[in-house]
């Protein structure tokens, strides 16, 4: 019952914030850019005129077909999603300190485990909704381009991959959430998100990717190329453990640290 109230409060705060609309809007750039790349690839003369952007498009998408399009989308969602989830954690947790409202919540007769759980749940639902929107937009834009190679199997495979990556990305929300609480603001989780992206790439190329939580999503997105095996169940257990550790650390910090702000 109390968790339900916590959830309703968190959804209310989210719904009334600018970032609730801004984040999916910003993330929409991913499918738009992917669609532009497809147009460039299918019109090489346009790529030459666009200079660097054209060259990048040629590099990323080998062919202007649905398979290449979904590959580009999943890579963009993989990397972009890790940034988005960090921003969400910063907003849900760090904002309470930046705006000085954390002390109001923490002085209430509300379980702090409930507060953490509600915020993380809202973050998960929010992220899932953003991903659903991004894929609807991507599929709509792809349809407008009338690219060749569409099959139902390809679509379902892309959607399943997108859903799997979304769940994997959601598992990464709790560590920046904890950093938001520990550092009492926005900058900690945002800084950590950038750092984790770099480290994810570093671990990805060393072969330790499946065991490093921030490498799993980029690997699953196909960024390492078609020859690299996708992360297996071991990697997902690492992600689940990462989420649980983050949840525990966030709760523990709220419960034991001095809330001086």
């Amino acid at each position: 019952m109390m968790l339900q109230k916590n959830l309703s409060v968190e959804f209310l705060k989210l719904r009334r914030s600018t970032i609730f609309w801004f984040l999916p809007l910003a993330f929409s750039l991913g499918p738009v850019i992917a669609a532009v790349f497809m147009v460039i690839v299918s019109h090489p003369e346009l790529g030459q005129r666009l200079g660097l952007l054209g060259a990048k498009a040629q590099l990323m998408a080998m062919h202007a077909d649905w398979a290449s399009y979904f590959t580009v989308i999943s890579q963009m969602v993989g990397i972009g999603g890790m940034i988005v989830i960090g921003v969400m954690a910063a907003f849900l947790f760090g904002r309470e300190y930046a705006e000085g409202t954390a002390k109001n919540i923490l002085a209430l007769p509300v379980s702090r485990a409930g507060v953490v759980t509600a915020k993380l749940f809202v973050g998960a639902v929010w992220y899932a909704a953003v991903i659903v929107w991004v894929y609807i937009l991507a599929i709509s834009l792809g349809s407008l381009l009338s690219m060749p190679g569409y099959t139902g199997e390809l679509l379902s495979s892309a959607v399943v991959r997108g859903a799997r990556m979304a769940v994997e990305t959601i598992m990464l929300i709790s560590i920046p959430a904890w950093i938001g609480v520990a550092s009492k603001g926005y900058f900690g989780p945002l800084g950590f998100t950038m750092f984790s992206l770099i480290m994810g790439n570093v671990f990805g190329v060393t072969g330790w990717g499946p065991w490093f939580p921030w490498s799993v999503v980029p690997l699953d997105s196909g960024m390492a190329g078609p020859d690299v095996a996708l992360p297996g169940w071991g990697a997902r257990i690492v992600l689940l453990a990462t989420f649980c550790v983050g949840w525990f650390l966030t709760w523990w910090t709220l419960n034991t640290a001095d809330n001086l702000q």
Binding site: R16, L108, P109, D258, N259
Partner: protein, 316 residues
């Protein structure tokens, strides 16, 4: 002066609503709060007075479970905050330091959040909107409120769920004089009608002396004294006497009343540094001795001077 509605007998037998026992907090080598003991009864307004950095906010944060004490404990209606925080703070309304609210949410939505999380009934929202004069701003975003109205919103949030204890840290911050008077009246009303135990911290002497039933002065983390507001407001240090023969008067009072704390001032003036003497007796003795008496008046220490003296004495 004790306000109308103040009923000491009502409080006499009540166990304290709020009790701090040996409350201590260290931040590294700094002792922010040092073995503080205080109790606030139901239906009492306790003024928690201290300079900036004296330890008021740290104490309040420990009372609300926002900071863990290094030693000692806080009991709210008998519940230990460190052990059973959720149960202990259930009957508490609070305002800690600056008034804050969710800037993108309206006044109503900010209050609605508090209502949901404290299980307050829906009608409580209308009650506090009226009580704190927030009706005209109910659909305004909190970020667009003036500082004074933000403070009112924070106070409204604190009393929304009809708490038994109200812990307010500098509640008059950002309020104009009319607002300060209004909030003072509301707090008295809550004390008298709902029997709330209220702890109000401030560094503003006049505010506390006009509001509180009892005052505790904290300095360098220690509660150095507790007093009634009238004791803080009118403290007689001694008596000033203007006579025709100062030396003879001093001798006379010393012989007859055993007074030794007599100081000669400007010609014809004496300062008796004993506030407990009977001025009528002094006047009679002087006049009967044939000495001309032109002035006999108390030497009062004003509010600020008294406060500064108490805190300086503690520093020595």
């Amino acid at each position: 002066m004790i306000e109308r509605g103040y009923q000491p007998e009502r409080r006499a037998g009540n166990p304290p609503a709020l009790q701090a026992i040996g409350l201590t907090k260290h931040f590294g080598p700094v002792r922010a709060v040092d073995g503080l003991d205080l109790a606030v009864a139901k239906g009492e307004i306790y003024g928690f007075l201290g300079r900036n950095g004296a330890g008021k906010t740290t104490t309040i944060r420990m009372m609300l479970g926002l900071i863990r004490p290094s030693a000692g404990r806080v009991l709210l209606f008998g519940n230990d905050v460190a052990r059973r925080r959720t149960e202990a703070v259930r009957p508490v309304g609070s305002l800690v330091e600056t008034a804050t609210a969710y800037a993108s949410l309206t006044v109503r939505e900010n209050l609605e959040i508090q209502r949901r999380l404290t299980n307050a009934p829906p009608e409580s929202l209308e009650r506090v909107l009226s009580l704190f004069g927030l009706r005209p701003y109910v659909n305004r975003r909190a970020g667009q409120l003036s500082l004074g109205n933000k403070q009112r919103l924070s106070l409204a949030r604190a009393v929304l769920h009809k708490p038994g204890i109200l812990i307010l840290d500098e509640p008059s911050n950002a309020l104009d004089p009319a607002g300060i008077v209004e909030i003072r009246q509301i707090l008295r009303q809550l004390r008298d009608e709902d029997g709330l135990a209220i702890l109000v911290s401030s560094h503003i002497l006049s505010e506390i002396s006009q509001l509180a039933d009892r005052i505790g002065i904290i300095h360098r983390g220690r509660l150095i004294t507790e007093m009634r507001p009238e004791e803080l407001a009118s403290s007689v240090l001694g008596w000033e006497v203007s006579v025709s023969e100062a030396r003879r008067t001093a001798q006379l009072l010393s012989d007859r009343l055993g007074l030794s704390a007599i100081q000669e001032g400007p010609p014809g003036r004496l300062l008796i540094r004993d506030p407990s003497i009977d001025p009528a007796l002094v006047a009679r003795l002087v006049v009967e001795a044939g000495i001309g008496l032109s002035l006999l008046c108390p030497v009062e220490e004003d509010l600020e001077a008294r406060f500064l003296r108490l805190t300086r004495e503690e520093e020595k």
